[in-house]
Each structure stands twice: as C-alpha cells, then as structure tokens.
Amino acid sequence: MIRFENITKIYSNAKEASVEDVSFEIKEGEFVSIVGHSGAGKTTIVKLLLGEEKPTSGSIFFEEIEVNELRPSKLTKLRRRIGTVFQDFRLLPNKTAYENIAFAMESAGKTDEKIESDVPHVLDLVDLGSKAFHFPHQLSGGEKQRLSIARAIINNPEVVVADEPTGNLDPVNTYEVVHILKKINSLGTTVILTTHNKGVVDAIHKRVITLEDGKVVRDDEKGKYII
C-alpha cells in the first residue's frame, strides 16, 4: 500500500541527510511502529509521506500514486485519504472541538447533514461528547490528542499516521491513545505510529521499524523497541 524506495532527504540548510537510503513497504491493514531516538528521521518520514517535504532522491508510492511527483491540487486529495495525528495536536485554536472535526469534513466536501450526524458520534467515540463546544485551550493534553484522533478518522481514511502522539501525554492518556489507535487498526485501517516511547511499542506487539541516524537498522514483525 505504501512504499518507500531508496529515500534520501537532505534539508537545504543541513550538511547531513535526515533520512538516508530508506526503503520499506507497508501493507494494507498493518500497524507499523517507526521507532528511534529524537533526530533519527521519524518525523521526516511522516512529512515525506504527506507530501509536506519532497525527497532529495528516491520515490514514495501510495498505492500506485507517486507522492513526490504530485501537483498541489492532487496532494490535497491524497491527504484526505490519510488521517494525521501530531505530538503538538495541531488543532485550529479559533474553532471549537466540534468545528475542528467539522472543518476536516467540510474540506472533504461533506454535506451539512452528514457533518451533523457524524461529528457527535465520533466525539462520543473519543469520550469528548460533553466538550463539543470547548475551544482547544479549554481542553487538557489528553483531550486535545483524542480530539485530534477524532479529526484524523472522521473521513474514514485508509491510513492513520500518528507522529509521536503520546509525546506530550501522561501514562494514563498515553495508554488511552494507544488503545484508540489499536481499535482503529482492528477495524481495518492501516496505522503508522512514530514514537520513542519504549513502553508503548512493547505493549503493541506489532511490526516495528527501527531508525538510527536516518537509516533503517531493524524491521521486525511483532517487534520490540531495541536500540
């Protein structure tokens, strides 16, 4: 479903590559954790997949689409097929919890009726039903992350990419977020999780790709966090 072929990325102001000759493939319905220390290249891989950055060399495929060759308008359509969750939540500060999710649906051209029926449902799913009209600054870290997961899954994406989603959370909220991601995966959605949290990776018991200094050093089915 997703294929990285010999990807190297050197940022314009950097001397060394952030990721170097990285190749891997992710199949539909998989739960893949990409692990490594800070600066290992995890976030770069997410940005490349979303088309936020272009690789210096190599190709990225989403099914048959070559992501790095897409024009901006096509990229927009691709991004609707990928739900994203970030460490810093990236919520729209001037919109309520309800509106944050509704915005993702509006962007995808959904009707008002569909929005009105789906948004409360997904808010209940992440246990935020009572906080629908709270603004992000009125929510705790865990609530913000649950909201950002709700936004990521609202358009039924084929893939959910979670970039260090537990980085800013306490253990209880971390557990909850991981639990929700596993549930999403069990319903058939491919999940890509980047993290440097050993406890999280070990608890998931799924495929682990380990990065070190921008290179893939391990790729284990039902792996653990080993560096």
Partner: protein
C-alpha cells in the same frame, strides 16, 4: 466553487473576525486611519476646488468704453464676444447703470457724491465684463480685443481700455497657484495613500503570519487552497466595511465642527458637504477598504499556500 463552499467560507470569515477579537480590533483601527486619510483628502479637494472656482469667478476681463460710445456698437461687440468658444459669459453695464452702481457704492461718501453732482454729464462709460470658461483663456480673449478684426471696424475707437494687461499678473499668478496646488495635492495624496496602504497591508500580513500554523494544519487536513484562503479574504472584506462605517461615523462630528467654525475660512460648509455626499463618501471608503482588505489578505496568504 460550490454554493456550499461559499456559504462556509463566508461563515468562517465572520467567525474568525469575531473570535480574533484583539487582532480584528487592531486591523480595523489601522484601516480606519487609512480610510480617514482618504476621506480627509476628499474633503480638502472639495475645499480646494470650491475655493478655486470662487476665485475664478472673481476674475474677469473688463472692457471700458469711452463716454458717449453708442450702445448699438457696444452690443455688437458683445455678441461678437459671445460667439468666441472661450467666453462663458458677457455682462453689459450701461453708463447709466455704472453711475447707479457708483452711487450705491459710495452711499455714505457724501464728498464724492457731491463732487459727482457738480458735473454736468455722466463721467462714467459703459463696460463689458467678460468671464472665460478657463482662467487660462483670458489671454486669448484679450488678444481678440486687440486684434485686427476689431481694429478694422471703428469699434476699437470706442474702447477706452481693457483691464486685462493690468490684471494679467494676478491672473497668471492665480493660474500657476491653481495648477501648483493641484499638482501638490496629487503628490501628497499619492504619498499619504501609499503610506497608509503599506501600513494596512503589513498589519494584515502580520495577522496572517500569526495564523500560518493554522494554514499548515488546514493543508494537512486536506483543505483546498481556495477553502483555506477564502475566510481570510472575507475577514479582510469585513475589516474594510467596518472601518468605512467607523470612518463615516467619525467624520460626522468632525464635519459638524468644521461646518460651524471653519465655513468662513474654507468658503464651503463641510457639514453640508458631508450630508450632500454621504452616499458617495461611504461607497468610496467602503470600496477602497474592501479592496485593500481583500488584496492584502490574498497576497499575504499566498506565501503560505505556495508549497
């Protein structure tokens, strides 16, 4: 773009305007200053052009005729003058009328009136007051009066003097002041408007710079560029409309004060002018503000939507 998109964009713009509180307030304030500059310029242009037209009306060429010149000949010259394309109006004042005017002017001056009584006949000749359409055309009219056409007939003989050459200096001076003021006014207008436009543009750019991460989030969520940019344009438009409204409101007491205290100085009542031109003033400020808001927001968002 679908109707649904437009509806959502407009709603988004309004919500942003309301929720951005302080940012919206500062943008509206800056834009109000810009629109006030524009309105002040319109006011000063009104004063300037009114004063100029008043001054121009006061300038004319007067032809003084010899005492005893026949009325038929004078009227003949009048109709000749009226045919000239440069001439706006010719007023004939007969010698009797001139005497009457003189008496009125010196009503309280018994000495002069007494001296006048001493004379047997009317010492004043008839006159023709000629007004040109443009101040610069007096010279041509004066030349016509000196020209051969008139010399050939005996009309030249009845003319005592033409005061154009005496007034020429003042008229020339007036023309150069008129044109200078127009040029200076245009220069100042361009500089002031440009300065305030740049300040407004930068304020809106700063607002959008603050929202750059939000724009990034919208892109990641999969929103198309027009859908991200739209609410910012609507917000810019609201800044323009609200600022135009505040500007018009602000200029009511200003024009009231100017009308009450400065009418003699300006020669025009600016409060009357404000009410007479209220609709045009509002349309000009609203269109200017709206365009400024939309164009600034469009250019400012472009930087974050390029990638």
């Amino acid at each position: 773009m679908k109707v649904l998109d437009i509806k959502r964009i407009v709603k988004g713009g309004f919500l942003n305007f309301v929720r951005n509180g302080f940012v919206s307030l500062s943008s509206v304030l800056v834009m109000t200053i810009t629109l006030s500059v524009v309105t002040l310029i319109i006011f000063s242009q009104a004063v300037l052009s009114f004063s100029l037209s008043q001054l121009k009306e006061k300038v004319d060429v007067t032809v003084f005729f010899n005492v005893g010149a026949s009325e038929t000949e004078i009227l003949g010259l009048k109709s000749q003058l009226e045919e000239l394309p440069e001439v706006a109006n010719v007023e004939y004042i007969s010698s009797e009328q001139a005497l009457e005017n003189f008496r009125k002017r010196h009503e309280t001056d018994y000495l002069t009136l007494q001296a006048l009584e001493e004379l047997d006949s009317n010492p004043l000749g008839a006159t023709l007051n000629i007004e040109a359409i443009e101040a610069s055309e007096y010279e041509q009219i004066a030349n016509f009066l000196d020209s051969g056409d008139i010399l050939e007939s005996n009309q030249k003989l009845i003319i005592d003097k033409v005061n154009y050459s005496q007034n020429k200096l003042v008229i020339d001076r007036l023309i150069s002041i008129t044109e200078g003021a127009k040029r200076l006014g245009l220069g100042i207008t361009i500089v002031l408007v440009l300065m305030s436009v740049i300040i407004t543009f930068n304020t809106l750019r700063l607002n959008i710079y603050i929202a750059r991460e939000e724009i990034g989030v919208m892109r990641v969520v999969g929103a198309e560029n027009h859908y991200i940019r739209g609410p910012f344009l609507v917000e810019g438009m609201i800044y323009g409309l609200v600022s135009a409204f505040i500007t018009m409101l602000m200029f009511y007491p200003i024009s009231l004060w100017l009308g009450a205290n400065m009418t003699d100085f300006f020669g025009i009542n600016l409060n009357t002018y404000y009410f007479a031109n209220f609709f045009q003033l509002f349309v000009i400020t609203a269109v200017f503000g709206t365009l400024l808001g939309i164009v600034s927001s469009f250019l400012a968002t472009r930087a974050y939507l390029k990638k």
